[in-house]
Symmetry: C2
Subunit: 297 residues, 2 copies
Amino acid sequence: METLSRIEHALQAAVQLAEAPGSPPRLAAAMRHAVFPGGARIRPQLCLAVARACGDDDPGLTDATAAAIELLHCASLVHDDLPCFDDSPLRRGQPAVHAAFGERLAVLGGDGLIVLAFQVLAMGGTRSPLRLPRLMATVAHGVGAPHGITAGQAWECEPRVALSDYQRAKTGALFAAATMAGAEAAGAPGDTWRALGEWLGEAYQVADDVRDVMADPVQLGKPVGRDRALGRPSSATEQGLDGAIAHFDRLVACAIEAVPPCRGAPQLRALVHAEGERLVPRAWGHRARRLAVPAAG
Amino acid sequence: METLSRIEHALQAAVQLAEAPGSPPRLAAAMRHAVFPGGARIRPQLCLAVARACGDDDPGLTDATAAAIELLHCASLVHDDLPCFDDSPLRRGQPAVHAAFGERLAVLGGDGLIVLAFQVLAMGGTRSPLRLPRLMATVAHGVGAPHGITAGQAWECEPRVALSDYQRAKTGALFAAATMAGAEAAGAPGDTWRALGEWLGEAYQVADDVRDVMADPVQLGKPVGRDRALGRPSSATEQGLDGAIAHFDRLVACAIEAVPPCRGAPQLRALVHAEGERLVPRAWGHRARRLAVPAAG
């Protein structure tokens, strides 16, 4: 609970920077709309949990890092929902930013959130500036080209793509940035934390594919069946629903295995386990086996 | 000449980061297309000139800062040209990114360039990390909300806007960031350099309005008459062409006055003067007076 309130507090402080006097009111409102109310905030939770496991000796920098990761995630959702991509009318149970504020403010709101993320990092780094170059490079790597979430989304514009490359960039990269940057914000090396983020990111992407088929759209807060409708690469299409759920379970197990030895390891493993159950409830596996939805092709 | 080759070299190195193996090829190509061939590179030139005037004791950081400023400028052009904004088919004499690569890669290419700018700054800051927090905050302030170029563009989505607020944010903010960050990259305080950037930025925006009416579209590299066609706030509409050109001349004079006393002041003043003549040739003033294009309303 304390974790979530730290994250919300850091995100509020960040968004308020963009709402300072003199800001175009509709842009500021679009940026707030993109960030609140939030989803599960799993990436910043993960970032904070890793920072804690590494000592969390500069909580201001940890909070800034967690907020930056979430702002970048929100920015990517705003741009992914645009008419030229998913054209999704809903996000987190409310109108998507372009539906509420128009396409132009969705483009600019996403841009504003990306810039805000790095601004927040810079401001959070005043006490430990020696950590900033590495930390910022890690975050940028998880978001930009060639391997970050922007690149992941861009694979949808290529004629050919390997599903694993696509998933690794589209989702895994920001999860890996969350775990690595969490360690780096606490002054620890990030590299040993990469695998946890990568496994979890891949699991999350598979879960997203499964949820696109299985979940209740009200509970999910966005329309279901979009991947299939848009012909996007999907584990559920490639492996069948049953196969995708089994794949998800293996990935969560790998993520739990990948938690490096440290004081906070038991809590982290419990967090990963609980998140796995939240994403793809065990009951869905039974249901999928009964339905036996086949793989495509 | 050395200035321009430093800038092009730094931009090449930056774009190559996004082209590393594993990058989606069309995204990487869209990003390169947005940056090369360049325009006048006036913002990074200004940044570099100020850094030189302040000693330029960490040229790697200066180059990274200049490149970051230009990458952010290029990103803003890509997004401003999108169909939902100006829907401009041409930029710098070649097809705009959305015209060449499609709307999706224009959105993502712009996003990628914003992230790349901060990545380049972070990498450039390894020798002088203590300068990074201030420097990055300056750059972010010039680009994001409430007062940066993203906010400037967002004023176009508001029902009411003061022309000076719009121009200050849309153009002045990144010019001010260029001068201030140039000083900060060299370890000097940025504040005394703000006025130069702000005057020059305002002059540049007025010049843009004048050029939208006066310039040859081939020479300009983009269509003319867009501001009027799109009903955008414009000095040339508000003050008449003659009035706008006189206003421009006053702003350039103020910019020249605002160069703080320093070793490189004469070169900087000469640069500002030459840039003024390049943007709005003296001959245009005579032509405008002969034509006597009136103010609107």
